[in-house]
Symmetry: C2
Subunit: 215 residues, 2 copies
């Protein structure tokens, strides 16, 4: 099929597969995010990606496959961003948590389209996409639980860390969703709100005590 | 249709409409929760409710309508349970929060079928059900924000209360979901985990300080 399309062949020779796949996924995230799953068309994705429709199908399959691939890629990116944020943070648990939250809200703020696809669109679609989302949540909870477990290792402590990780991931997701409706806030402000809630708790906040980022 | 069905007519005379609707909804919540939306059949719902299938359709419409009615009813019940818990709690904000969390996890523990339908099934289905779920979350966030705003009324404080309510509702949902996979925990234990997280914060918890319920 590609042999009929001179422009396509030139591109096909120039660009390695990973680059073309990335272009397709970038375009797909943009189009799914803006139109929603049902209204998004493979024509528009092909156009935005500047890659012929048959090639889009050849590389990433049906619209359903493509949407699932978007969820997987964006989830992996988000997880990598958080892990990278935390690993720069040194040993203090509050600073680790702060960097993790900054990385999370930084990612959501920078890639709002990703977050919309990941969270709103995927849960609005349900079915296999809801399953992808559930897998992503499980990975996120494991990542956070591993961080919270640094300080203690008893069985009860690790069960508690797992429960706290579930609560924290839920709080982060829900606050990121809230943020989509309050875009005037900066990533740092939203991250600081959640940091204060989970580090200081309402008890200290009511007393006027606040957590402050280092330096 | 009911005039052709002697047994149905007897029931129709004996039971007022609200009672029959309640029977149908109780049965539907049970069947949807156990089978999932797709595998659930109107035959089984009619059988469990002990109400003829034509009457099920006459009262509550199609399977889709019935599922949406289940979500609405269970969401309303949950909201009422939380509001009732909080209004018994007096003025202290920590005790109000504690009673609200106890009521929430008490409801989820007592009506696991409701929660499964509300949360897991509805989000696995997506579409209009995801919208019902979103409306329920918005109501829950408003309820919690109103509680958190008791102490202060500035615009910044009410924005913060709204963000904290979103975080808290997300944490509660996520922990309730975690609980479905850890049924050995009591409602009180799970509620106390979340209470400690949001009232004390990790900072105090790391220092070994805990929040204790009154008396």
């Amino acid at each position: 099929m590609r042999t009929n399309d001179a422009a396509g062949r030139v591109r096909a020779k120039r660009l390695p597969r990973e680059v073309r796949e990335r272009q397709i996924l970038d375009a797909a995230v943009e189009v799914f995010s803006q139109r929603g799953y049902h209204a998004a068309s493979m024509d528009e994705i092909s156009e935005v990606a500047d890659i012929s429709k048959p090639m889009v199908y050849a590389y990433l399959g049906s619209k359903e496959d493509l949407f699932a691939a978007c969820i997987r890629r964006e989830a992996t990116r988000l997880m990598e961003a958080i892990a990278a944020g935390v690993s720069e943070a040194g040993d203090r648990p509050d600073v680790q948590l702060w960097h993790g939250l900054r990385a999370f809200f930084g990612f959501v703020g920078e890639y709002r389209d990703s977050w919309r696809v990941l969270h709103r669109q995927a849960s609005a679609q349900g079915g296999p996409f809801a399953q992808e989302l559930l897998d992503m949540r499980r990975r996120a909870i494991s990542l956070v639980a591993a961080l919270l477990m640094n300080t203690s290792d008893s069985e009860a402590a690790s069960l508690h860390a797992d429960a706290m990780a579930a609560a924290l991931v839920g709080a982060g997701e829900s606050l990121a969703d809230w943020w989509l409706d309050h875009p005037e806030e900066s990533a740092g402000t939203v991250a600081a709100r959640l940091m204060n809630l989970v580090w200081m708790g309402f008890g200290n906040l009511v007393d006027g005590q606040m957590w402050q980022p280092p330096r």
